[in-house]
Each structure stands twice: as structure tokens, then as C-alpha cells.
Amino acid sequence: MTDVPVTTRKDWTTDQEVRWCPGCGDYSILTAVQLLMPELEVRREDTVFVSGIGCAARFPYYMNTYGLHAIHGRSPAVATGLAMARGDLHVWVVGGDGDMMSIGGNHLIHALRRNVNLNILLFNNQIYGLTKGQYSPTSERGKVTKSTPHGSVEQPFNAISLALGAEASFVARTHDMDRGHMQEMFRRAHEHPGAAFVEVFQNCNVFNDGAFAALTKRDARDSMLIDLRHGEPVRFGADDEFGVVMDGGRARVVQVADVGVDALVVHDEADPDPSVAFALSRLANTNDVPTPIGVFRAVERSEYGSAVTSQIAASQSKAGPGDLHKLLHSRPTWQVA
């Protein structure tokens, strides 16, 4: 990688006017990514951003890389084909909660299950923005929107639980108010071989303003965000006074003083069993209770595209490279003189 040219944010930025609403959380995510890319030591031409439809899905137009703005929900499928065909590329998939968890839910879970080499960024704002304010599959129960004037009666997805249930090998969460944390998660996603899923809590200041404010405003973070760190006890609070214990298979928030540090869960993102990661994801199903962020799970598993490529290589070393003449004569033949 030493021959990768030095770049700056400018090199990764297109000349296109960014068209998100002023104040949208997407701006800070874009900035985080554009500033991070020069540090990843990859070539712009080897980087592809693939998206579906929605506000978040405009992302590729602003990255000076290869970019494919596909159709609603299908970006994980399109990106799967691209990543399978081209193991040399760094493929990022960007989309919102409607795009990836509703219409594209099927493609998302199967891309995660297969462990295709993709960095999937889910911008979760718990609302449909581009269609102007309908509830989404991550909107909370009771949510009043244009399409739920009496309040939503649906149970929302917990994106982290869903990804873990879909056998994802890398699952993380971050939020749009903390560039440093976002960049750390995005970098980890990039470095992970296989499918990396990152949920970004993202504010839609027009249709769902302040959805995550109770968690992400500066003075709330210490007490409301549980920063998961591999190998460390799970604890939070201004003075680390809170912690998480496992209790009968469930994760529970406790006062550290009550149980002692040794009783706390030591976070193991590499645990082959996703049960504890899942339990941690269940700590918060609403945005008014302490919520874990960071890397929930990062395990090594055979990457899909490479597995397919090795089958090709194995087949070629066994049967020799494809010979069309031989193929056409591979079934019983006869001569007509």
C-alpha cells in the first residue's frame, strides 16, 4: 500500500452541490467519511460507494470515487455482485432505515449472512425523509407521522439485534454528533474482511428532529451512551459509576458501587457466540435509556467473494483453465461423415 498517493479531503470531494436540508445529520457523516478516506491508504479509483434510494442514498454523488446510485432497497444486492466480481475493490454501501431495513431488508440480511466484503452504513433517523415524513421500520411505537396520524402500532426493529440475528460478523453503532467515534467505527468497518454493518444514529432535523437528542447531546452522552470497548468492563457515567452485568442471560444496568467492578461484563467483541452482544443490544429499545455504542461484534469468518474465488482457483487447478472446445465435446458425441 506504500505506493498509494497522499490525498486530502479535497481529493475525495466532488464538485456537486450537496443537497441535503441545512442542519441534516448527513452532513457530519459525509465530512467524517471524506476526512477519514485519506487516512485509509486506499486509492480513490479502487473505492466504490453504492446506494439505494432515500436522502442518505445521495451520498455517492458527493464522494470523488466510483459511485452507483441504484434503486430503492437493492444496494446490498448490487454491491454483492460488484464485490463478488471484484475482490480488489473497497465497496461501501450507504442507505437509510427505510431503504435498508424495509424495502431492502431481505438483501441486507443475506449480505450479512453471506459475509460479503462490504462496509454497510445504515443512517438510521427513524423516519422517511425523502418522501416527507412517514414512519419507518425503526420508528418507535406511538410515533405520530403523516401515515400514522393516530400513532404507530408497530414494533420497531432494533438494527443491531437484527444484524446480529442475521449472522453479521461485524456490527457497530455510532452517532452523527461525534466525528471521532464515527471515524473509528468506519475505519474498523473498512479493516474488517467481510460484511461490516455500522448503524449511525442520524438526526433528521425536518421530520424527526431530536430523535436521538436524549442520547447524543453533549451533556447527556456520558450518562446515556455506553461506550463498548473490547477487553474492558462495560461501564459508563460521568465517573464510570454505572455498569452492565449479565443476569440470567440478560444484560442489566447497575451501579458499579453496588456490585463491584469484577461483576461487570467484560466486552468481548470477538466472542464467537453472539449471545452477549445480542443481550447488550437489547439494553435499549427506545432512545430514552442508556444505549450502547461501539463495536458489538467483530469476528473472523470466511469472506464470501474470496470463498467463491478460491473455488474457482481450486477448480482451475484441478480441471485446468476452461477449454471451450473440450466443453462442447464433453457429452457423448458421434461423427457424421
Binding site: 479509483e45 463478488m84 481450486a314
Partner: protein
């Protein structure tokens, strides 16, 4: 007939036999038919097959719903159909007889497994009395054999359980017909060895049953029924017997070789297309990547992604899958990337008739996307033609940067015919030409890459990720021609809609003109597409041998249509369009050329028979007043 005559039979020769194997879906009729076909192919006959099976994997045993059939036409001359009506029916049980006897030619031969004609099976098949005894088969030559019993006996010393031995009775039937119709024995014996390698008792049982069936023919005074079909005088060359789905798969591999870029198939299992996925998954040493996707949309999406990355992106499906893929195909139209979408049509709408054939997706291929979304359409005409049609679809997609729809159908997919294997050195190459350099100078005097800057054929460059300096963004939102930047400008959209139509229309200059087979001076022209070719060709030959004239124009390219087609059609007094739908091409021709084309249609899930078409064409010729 005396025993002596049976032992020294005078084998009569005939120019062709149409044999139909019918039995329970668990009786192995497809396999039996396939083996008879292969032995005949190796013997040098021309042939055509028509497998027919129920959609259920195992319908209740002994019922009409569970009957599975395989029809094969073997001939000593060039033939194009599996035969209008069987001359021989092998019925493994009463249901098979009940279901298929009406197809048999008057005076034809019925070969039955007498053991299956018990009360229970007769009742299940709806027989009130035993047709083997009540005289209802009097108009036919009937050969009865206790196939189950003789198979069990043949296997009794082999350590095979009677229940397992019974499963080999289809090989008894095969042995019997192999003797009756003078088929070589060795290919089948060799095949049994290979197919069941490692399962020695199965090999022994199948061989014993096969030999017993063969011996039964020799010893049971059947000499008078014995027939021989001599090899056909086909064009010199090396032949193999091939069905449409295999030919299609091989065509895709060939196209990948000719283009010099890898093949990627995204597919979701669906009848009758799954065999293409199976076949391509076997050939990884050609660099083929296959993805069994989570659904039809995922399959086409992945194919599009691979195409964007510089592979030959292909997706295979049937009607229901086509409906699901429509939005992604529209995206490919907007992106102008190569994509091959293969629709192996079946009876519709909805689940329809999954295992029966129909060709009713033409207008969906033409118009089944939102907005103005034109794309090229090609159709295969025979099983082996699927090979060349696949290459043509890839050529159009790659060279013209467009999604292409290839139409095959359930009949072509499963039918087989002898194919003179082409010389791979003679196959046309496919020009890929990935973009490698900037292609535009902007207002600031900088060299830049414009993804939608077109060449003289209105084809845009294919710049794949990994190419330095050509980074660009494309998407399904309307874009400015040239720069490819998002544009909602009214004039631009109007121009882009027209450009997309024009660039597809221009392909008419890059395909061969329509050609007339038969008599170009006839009053009546038959215009056709797809698998009707075989039955139409057979019907035309019969019309010609009766001293009448007929012109036949068969279309491989359905969009754009060949440039000369309008003038050609207007030169005939009458135009007849036989289709396995309710008149889709006919409607297109009438709209495009204002010719008074007449439809001949069939939507029964069965291909046309030549006899049906002889009648229809005869009427059309009669209507013109043309004398015999």
C-alpha cells in the same frame, strides 16, 4: 406368429418413429426417455424430444395428475419437431394409458406393464373395466409385459430387495423398446455404470432389468412389431445431443470466452430456468461466478453490480421472476450498462403452468417497465440455437451497453436435438473496449471523463471501477447527456428519452436482415419467433411437398426488428403469425408496419403440432386464391 419368426425377425425399416414413454412421476420416465434419446443420437438418427412432467414432485401414485411423459421423435432424415402424434406409447400404469392414449396415432403400438393393471390402479385412473381385456385397445397393436414381476425375478439373485428391484422396471421397459426399435445396447450399459458408480447393487439391478427387457422382446414373439430407423444423412461433423438450457449455458460461457471477460450469473431457482444455474455452477474453471440469490430482485441486482464491475452480468428466470426484476432492468436501461436477462417462458399469468410451455412474455419484454425503457430482445428458435442466441445477447449487451432480454421457453429448455458442434475458432469475437482515458475537455481546459459521452452508435463508454482518473457517479436519476450529472431539466429529459430510444433503434444496422425461407414469391408469408420455428418448418415442408408455396420469415431479433422487415412483409399478399400467446408479435407487426397480419395462436401449454399449422397455412393460402 411362430417362435421361429420371432427368433429370426425380419426387421422392417421405417423413416421415423415417435415414441412416448408415460408413467408415474416416480417411475423414471424422463430418465428412460433420455436414455433412449441418447442411444438414438449416438446411433446417428436425427431426433427431437418433448419432455412433459407435472409441477408436483410426486403427485399421488397411480393418478392422472402424477403422469410424467417423455416423447421422442427419431428419424432417418432432418426433422424439426418431436412429432405430432406418437406412433408408440409405453404406458407403465393405467393412469399413463388413460392420460396419453388419445395422443397415439390410430393403429399405433401400445406397450404396457401388465402388472400395474390391477383393480386399485384401474380405479385410480378412472377405468371401470380393464382396457387390456375389454377390447378398447382393439385398434392398436398391444404388447403386454409383466414388467414388475420379470424385473423382480431378474434381480432375485443379486441381493436386491424386491421393493428396490421394482424401481428398476423402467430399465426393463427401456430394454424392451431398445430391442423393438433396434437401438444399440452398449451406450445404455456404459451409462448405467457411470451414473450409479459406487452403488453396485443398483448397477446390477438396472443392468439385469435392461437385459431382461431386451430378452423379453426376443423371446415373446414380438418380431412383427420390430422396426429399424436408419441413421439420418446429416451435415458432416461431430454431433452431440443437447437441450436448450444446456446450450444456453454453454453459449454464455462461449460468449465470456469470446469477450475475454468473466461471466457472472445471479439467479434464483425457478422452473424451467434452474438448470442454467446448475450447469453454470459446474463450470467454475471458466472463471464463472454463480450466485443463488435471496430472491429474483437480488439476483438481477447482483448481476447488474457485476456488470458495473466489468463482468458479463447475466440473470436467468421465468415469467414470475421477470415481473420482479422489472425495476432493476429499468435501472440498467437508465445506467446504460450491459446486462443479459434470460426469460425461459412458461404458462402464465401468476404461477400458471410452471412445467408447460408458452411464449407470452414478448410484450412484457418490450414494454414491461415503467417509463420509456427500450431494450433489445432476442429469441432462440431451437434447443441448439439457444447457444448462438446466448452469444448474440451478450454481444448486443456488451457492444451496445444495454440490458438485453433473451426469450427461451419451457419447451426449448427441456427438449433436445442433435447439434453439430461448431468450431470454436469460427465463433465471432465480442468487443469489450473498457474506457481507459478521459474523453472530454472541460471549460477550464482540464481533461475529464464524461460517462455519458457517446460514440457514433450513441454508445457510452464502459469505465469500470479500478480505472485511475475515470471516477464518476451514475444512477437511476435522470442525468445530463455527456457529463452524466443529475439533471431535472425538461429539455434534457425529453432529449434523453429520445436518445435512449434512438440508440436501441440503431442496433437494427448491426443485425442481419430478415430472410425468407421457402418461396419468396409465395402469396403467404409466415412470420414467427421462438420455438415455433420447428413446427412451422415441418409444416412448410409438408405444404411444399403437396406442391404449394409458402414463405417463412423467422425472427431472432424482436427489438429492434430487422431493418428490411416492413418492406418484406408488404410484398406478400397475406401475413400469418403463429404464436404461443394470443397474438403479441402480430400486434407489434401491425402497429409497426400497418400490415394486415393474421394471428394463429395456441395457449394450451403445448407446442404447436405441424398438422395444426399445415391446416392454418393451408387456409391462408386458400384465402389468397393461389392455385395448387
Amino acid at each position: 406368429m411362430t417362435e421361429t419368426s420371432a427368433r429370426t425377425p425380419e426387421v422392417r425399416t421405417t423413416d421415423g418413429i415417435v415414441l412416448r414413454f408415460a408413467g408415474d412421476s416416480g417411475d423414471g420416465m424422463q430418465l428412460t426417455g433420455d436414455r433412449f434419446t441418447s442411444a438414438s443420437a449416438l446411433f446417428g438418427n436425427d431426433l427431437a424430444t418433448l419432455p412433459e412432467f407435472p409441477a408436483e414432485i410426486r403427485a399421488p401414485a397411480g393418478t392422472l395428475a402424477g403422469v410424467s411423459s417423455f416423447q421422442v421423435h427419431i428419424s432417418d432424415h432432418d426433422i424439426t419437431t418431436p412429432g405430432d402424434a406418437p406412433t408408440v406409447l409405453v404406458a407403465m400404469n393405467p393412469a399413463a394409458l388413460q392420460a396419453d392414449l388419445h395422443l397415439l396415432k390410430p393403429g399405433g403400438t401400445v406397450i404396457v406393464n401388465a402388472d400395474a393393471f390391477n383393480e386399485r390402479n384401474l380405479a385410480k385412473a378412472g377405468y371401470e373395466s380393464n382396457p387390456l381385456e375389454d377390447g378398447s385397445l382393439d385398434g392398436y397393436t398391444v404388447v403386454t409385459a409383466p414388467m414388475t414381476d420379470l424385473t423382480k425375478r431378474a434381480c432375485q439373485d443379486l441381493g436386491v430387495k424386491p421393493r428396490d428391484a421394482e424401481r428398476s422396471k423402467n430399465f426393463f421397459a427401456l430394454g424392451l423398446v431398445s430391442w423393438l426399435y433396434s437401438r444399440p445396447v452398449k451406450p445404455t450399459v456404459d451409462w448405467i455404470d457411470g451414473k450409479f458408480a459406487g452403488r453396485d447393487t443398483v448397477i446390477a439391478a438396472n443392468k439385469a432389468a435392461f437385459a431382461a427387457g431386451h430378452a423379453f422382446g426376443e423371446t415373446a414373439e414380438l418380431g412383427a412389431s420390430r422396426l429399424m430407423v436408419q441413421p439420418a444423412a446429416l451435415e458432416p461433423g461431430t454431433y452431440t445431443n443437447i437441450n436448450g438450457n444446456t446450450a444456453l449455458s454453454w453459449g454464455l460461457i462461449a460468449a465470456s470466452q469470446q469477450a475475454g471477460i468473466p461471466l457472472f450469473l445471479g439467479s434464483y431457482p425457478i422452473t424451467p430456468a434452474s438448470d442454467v444455474l446448475h450447469e453454470l455452477a459446474r463450470h467454475k474453471n471458466f472463471g464463472v461466478r454463480t450466485l443463488q440469490a435471496e430472491d429474483e430482485i437480488g439476483a438481477v441486482g447482483a448481476a447488474l453490480g457485476a456488470a458495473y464491475g466489468g463482468h458479463i452480468g447475466v440473470t436467468t428466470t421465468s415469467g414470475p421472476g421477470m415481473a420482479l426484476k422489472a425495476e432493476t432492468v429499468g435501472l440498467a436501461v437508465s445506467l446504460e450498462v450491459p446486462l443479459v436477462v434470460i426469460d425461459i417462458q412458461r404458462g402464465g399469468p401468476s404461477t400458471g403452468l410452471p412445467t408447460k410451455t408458452e411464449a407470452a412474455d414478448l410484450l412484457m419484454a418490450m414494454y414491461g417497465r415503467h417509463g420509456e425503457a427500450p431494450l433489445p430482445i432476442v429469441a432462440a428458435q431451437s434447443p441448439s440455437d439457444c447457444f448462438f442466441t446466448a452469444i448474440e445477447a451478450v454481444r448486443l449487451a456488451v457492444e451496445h451497453r444495454t440490458p438485453v432480454i433473451l426469450l427461451s421457453d419451457g419447451y426449448l429448455a427441456n427438449s433436445s436435438e442433435p447439434w453439430r458442434i461448431p468450431d470454436v475458432e469460427q465463433l465471432d469475437s465480442i468487443a469489450v473496449n473498457f474506457a481507459s482515458k478521459p474523453n472530454h475537455v472541460n471549460d477550464e481546459g482540464e481533461s475529464v471523463f464524461w460517462p455519458f459521452r457517446r460514440d457514433e452508435r450513441l454508445v457510452r463508454p464502459w469505465a469500470i471501477p479500478g480505472t485511475p482518473g475515470l471516477m464518476h457517479r451514475i444512477g437511476g436519476i435522470e442525468k445530463e447527456d455527456g457529463s452524466g450529472n443529475i439533471s431535472y431539466e425538461p429539455d434534457n429529459h425529453q432529449a434523453m428519452v429520445r436518445l435512449r430510444a434512438e440508440r436501441i433503434a440503431l442496433i437494427a444496422h448491426h443485425i442481419p436482415p430478415a430472410e425468407v425461407v421457402g418461396d419468396p414469391d409465395a402469396s403467404v408469408a409466415v412470420v414467427s419467433w421462438g420455438s415455433t420455428w420447428g413446427a412451422i418448418t415441418s409444416a412448410r415442408r409438408r405444404i411444399e411437398s403437396a406442391g404449394r408455396r409458402l414463405a417463412h420469415i423467422h425472427l431472432r431479433h424482436l427489438n429492434p426488428l430487422p431493418a428490411n422487415l416492413g418492406d418484406l412483409l408488404r410484398s406478400f399478399e397475406r401475413v400469418v403469425v403463429p404464436e404461443m400467446n394470443t397474438g403479441q408479435l402480430c400486434r407489434m407487426l401491425r402497429a409497426e408496419y400497418l400490415v394486415d397480419a393474421k394471428s394463429v395462436t395456441k395457449v394450451s401449454g403445448q407446442p404447436f403440432t405441424a398438422a395444426e399449422l399445415v391446416e392454418a397455412f393451408g387456409e391462408a393460402i386458400g384465402a389468397t386464391g393461389e392455385q395448387r
